[in-house]
Symmetry: C2
Subunit: 640 residues, 2 copies
């Protein structure tokens, strides 16, 4: 068993594409979300109560708890995002704001280390009686992730100490030892978090507890059922046919072979499981990770990298069931898929994992935020007719425009923390080989070798890598050849250069010298995508992709009744960089056909030939940028 | 304003198609449903409690009320069906059974005429406090309809007297006069029923009360809102965006122009409204009937004649929104559409009304019953994948097989009473013109003219009409030329005969003689149907119809993954009468194409050309007969 790969973060991110989004996050989204967490948003945004809950729990204010049992996690995710933001753009005012929040959080912690404002306010006697639905372990996980990140950026220990105290408390009440609760998180994330904490503070108890959660899950008799019998607390999902599948707790993980249930839970769980598989070197667990990966991405994922076919349980349904207009496709699930992909890349270097990672990242993750950073999608459908969202209850979870905030506000800060830490997803090292998985501009440093990466990705496929520091030693650089790329070439210092193609990578081994310039050119042309014929909802349809970007048609460009548009006979008629459109995007124009919108006599059914079509031009925009020009129809898949 | 047309019932029904279904109803469905109403079904059928409620209300048994507030209506609809059945096939044992049930019903009636077991058992002090949701007036309507039918068939007055007493009671508590409740039914049907009662017993108070219900509905301030404020009883649909639209009570009927809300309520209401418009000759009401008809059938109806696009509220959604796989398409709504069509034909003779009537009748009404008469559909979808019904909550209301009974069992007896009284839907007289709207075998008698109708409809388009009795007087016979028929011809005594074509009818005026044989030949070939391009869910799809019968593909004939089937280049390859298949049906075979079911590498998305197709033969069966061979996939619309 190979050792678990090590993520090598880029530094000094300067990227034509991502820097803009990250600027928006720093300037707009982070302050906006802080206002949300403090119920200071103007207008009709849903109330958070998050920071107030902490003040009440800390005895600084009186009142009742507001929100969901997992409300605390919103500020933790926000703090984690702030930590990454400060790493990129130091900002003393923001840091002071975060320090203040941390003081409040720390003040709410109980003497025994417990820290969950829901139970602190509502009554500690009931804590640890509903691991299944009450999210105490989920909240702990996000606290730990924030604490590690904040400590790594600032060196400040307050939040880390708080997190360690809570982790120690959890270790004292849950685990395999007699007298402890033999349980595991109803909503995973703590597994991943404990692995980070172990890596940060070196206390092996955290690795063992994460491993325990992974191995204990799904054993019979089911812990969640025993807990229910013991404390009489009914499951939030008791009337759902999903049952324990909702929690991926229906069978031991090593025996599971389909991604089922709540999609975010699944992604977080599989991510933590992959960490454990990688660090422990357990081949059975690793095989399960591969099976569940395969189930997720080969049978249950939208072309945008979105997950969750049904609103009911925000869940997976069954193989190849991917309805475009009733999709749940939660932003958090795609964020979770990026986490899972990153960890699979640490498990083993396979370009396909990174293909999925960028599919989610550039499409269904990015679509979660309005271009101004102040509105968010929870649900990322692939087909929208605003009238249907209003009148068809099956689509009432689908919104035609992003929302200012959510009662359950998991997605906005989740997206922020991922975007602000993208540098950690770009490269992985296995042995002496450095695998470059995401193309973004920045510096890549590893053991004496330093490279500056510059790229026009995702708008063009040129990546230039300049060696700025080197040592006398042969080292391998593996550049990912994306799955969307048919023709690519590599040149070194202006000369064509041969590389070995291996499992999705062009691998070049060499003794690098300062001044070396390696250039990867990936042909980036619009290409028509088709779905596997088993996908009922995409039968006879095609989508457009250019590079990693999935495109869509919007009413703003193509008029109403998008279902009447069909792919035309000719290839694309124009690929255009439009700096003034949607924050700067490459648009694609293709020949198209438009059917007549109505029959002259207005009949509903008739024995007539197919409607007349006339030639038209379709204007495609990147899917992630949809719904930035008011509510209107949108479609990813159109008829051929 | 023309006088309201008069329905002229056929007699002596002997029909190759309908007699079989009616035999099944008499032999199987009626006894089966009696067992259901008495909780005597074997197996897992849902409990009814209906007859027991009456016995409890009559003091013959103790216990609590079971079921919905409208539970009584199930036995009334059953009795109405029995009345029609006895008219067709006298059966003293069945009549004795019905008489017994009627005794129990009559015994439950209160001294003041009130009769609703829900309130009799649960407390009369609360009666008439929730017209909106508690269905007292709905139950009364079905009592009246049953009573009139039973009296007409048997001459027995017990149920009619009971109904009249309840009607008088209602008249004493509801109406425009001061001191009465100024309300109207939450679930219409009483409007139609009162018109029948008026016609049966000649008491004009019932006409006036029906008219009052129609004119009062939707006036502001809304009665249902005033009632809620007065009695504090919240609406069953209070959290629905439908609001008063659910009840078609959001605006006066004369101002409504779209069919909205609960589809069955809408059809029953529009039917009663048409009766009132026709009998009162009010042109404003008649215009509203036409508008609401047009909205229903030109913008909100499935090709099978099904209504109700959404499970939520069992309701209409918005124009051209007709999803095939999440359709509600309740059997009762199509039954109601037949009621509405019949009344529009009385309002004015337009062949299009009858086109819709037969579309509903031969397709979505008939599909409501299993061929053995013992299982029923509530929901009649146009596309089914059994796995989706199980795992996609949006489709959990869709069943892949008919059910033994329902907690809310409105559909099974509704279908029975319609099928058993089909003779009342065949012909309408306007002035001296007799319009023949449905083709079925039987005797048509009117003022000295008697004709025997024989036909192979709906399997062939030949109708032979023999005059068996005549008087010396010119009379016009209008034979409907169905909308599906492109070529037709008429011959009289073997010679081609010219007829005037008028608004969907071939009209022949003549002094008929005994022995005259009029033959109508309608070319009946399979034809491809298309939906108006505004129907998103049918874009690029086509369906198959032959005569009035809409066809479908089933897994049993065509294998799994029906979405991979496409229409082939050639026309039909075989139209075959298969007496041993599905109770005897004409099947249609067409050339088709089948896409490969998977990609060799199993990828989910790829940049490849459309899948390989191979030629295949598609076998189509009548839609109404689907799901009689176990659970499997079914589709009405396929790709071209």
């Amino acid at each position: 068993m190979a050792k678990y790969g090590v993520s090598v973060p880029l530094t000094d991110i300067r990227d034509g594409f991502w820097s803009g989004f990250r600027d928006t996050i720093v300037r707009e989204a982070i302050p906006y979300q802080w206002a949300a967490l403090n119920d200071a948003l103007p207008g009709t945004a849903e109330k958070s109560g998050c920071m107030r809950n902490f003040r009440i729990a800390a005895g600084q204010e009186t009142g009742d708890f507001h929100g969901y049992p997992f409300q605390d996690s919103d500020v933790y995710k926000w703090l984690e995002g702030v930590a990454y933001s400060l790493r990129w753009k130091p900002d003393s005012a923001l840091e002071a704001l975060a320090d203040g929040a941390i003081q409040t959080i720390a003040a709410a912690q109980q003497p025994d280390g417990y820290l969950d404002t829901y139970y602190i306010i509502r009554g500690l006697d009931r804590r640890w009686t509903n691991l299944r639905d009450d999210h105490e372990l989920y909240v702990a996980g996000h606290l730990i992730e924030a604490a590690v990140a904040y400590w790594q950026t600032t060196g400040k220990r307050t939040l880390l100490d708080t997190a360690v105290r809570f982790a120690q408390h959890i270790h004292s009440v849950i685990g395999p030892e007699e007298g402890k609760i033999h349980g595991y998180p109803g909503h995973p994330v703590l597994e991943m978090a404990l692995m980070k904490l172990w890596s940060a503070v070196g206390d092996e108890r955290y690795l063992r507890l994460a491993e325990y959660f992974i191995r204990e899950r799904g054993k019979q008799p089911a812990f969640f059922e025993e807990e229910r019998l013991l404390f009489g607390r009914e499951a939030a999902w008791k009337d759902s046919p999903l049952g324990l599948r909702y929690y991926q707790a229906h069978a031991p993980l090593e025996e599971q072979d389909e991604a089922v249930g709540h999609a975010v839970r699944a992604m977080y769980l599989f991510s933590g499981m992959t960490d454990v598989a990688g660090e422990t070197g357990d081949p059975g667990l690793a095989a399960a990770c591969r099976r569940l990966w395969e189930s997720t991405v080969s049978r249950r994922m939208y072309v945008t990298g979105a997950l969750g076919s049904s609103e009911h349980g925000e869940a997976f349904t069954f193989n190849y069931d991917l309805p475009n207009d009733t999709a749940y496709a939660e932003t958090c699930a795609s964020v979770g898929l990026v986490f899972f992909a990153k960890r699979m890349l640490c498990l083993e270097p396979l370009g396909e994992y990174a293909d999925v990672m960028e599919r989610a990242l550039y499409n269904s993750v990015l679509s979660g935020m309005q271009l101004d950073g102040k509105r968010f999608f929870y649900v990322n459908p692939l087909e929208v007719v605003p009238e249907a969202c209003e009148w068809d209850r099956n689509k009432s979870h689908v919104k035609a425009e992003r929302q200012p905030w959510f009662g359950c506000a998991c997605c906005p800060p989740n997206l922020v923390r991922l975007m602000a830490s993208l540098e950690e997803y770009a490269a992985v090292k296995h042995g002496e080989i450095l695998y470059l998985n995401l193309y973004l501009g920045g510096m890549l440093r590893d053991s004496g070798l330093t490279m500056r990466i510059e790229t026009g990705y995702p708008w063009n496929g040129v990546v230039a890598i300049d060696v700025t520091e080197a040592i006398q030693e042969e080292r391998s650089l593996a550049l990912r050849v994306p799955g969307w790329c048919e023709n690519w070439s590599l040149s070194l210092n202006g000369e064509p250069c041969a590389a070995e193609y291996r499992r999705g990578y062009a691998v070049l081994r060499r003794s690098w010298r300062i001044g070396d310039r390696l250039t990867m050119k990936m042909e980036m042309v619009p290409r028509w995508v088709r779905a596997n014929p088993r996908v009922r909802e995409d039968a006879g349809l095609t989508a457009l992709q250019r590079g990693p970007i999935v495109y869509c048609l919007e009413e703003a460009d193509n008029g109403k009744a998008l279902h009447l548009l069909r792919r035309g006979p000719d290839p694309e008629t124009g690929v255009r960089w439009e700096p003034g459109t949607l924050g700067g995007v490459v648009t694609v124009r293709t020949s198209g056909l438009r059917e007549d919108e109505d029959w002259p006599d207005g009949r509903l059914y008739d024995f007539r030939e197919a409607s007349e079509v006339r030639a038209t031009e379709l204007k495609w925009i990147p899917y992630y940028a949809w719904a930035n020009r008011g509510a209107g129809e949108m479609r990813v898949w159109i008829r051929e």
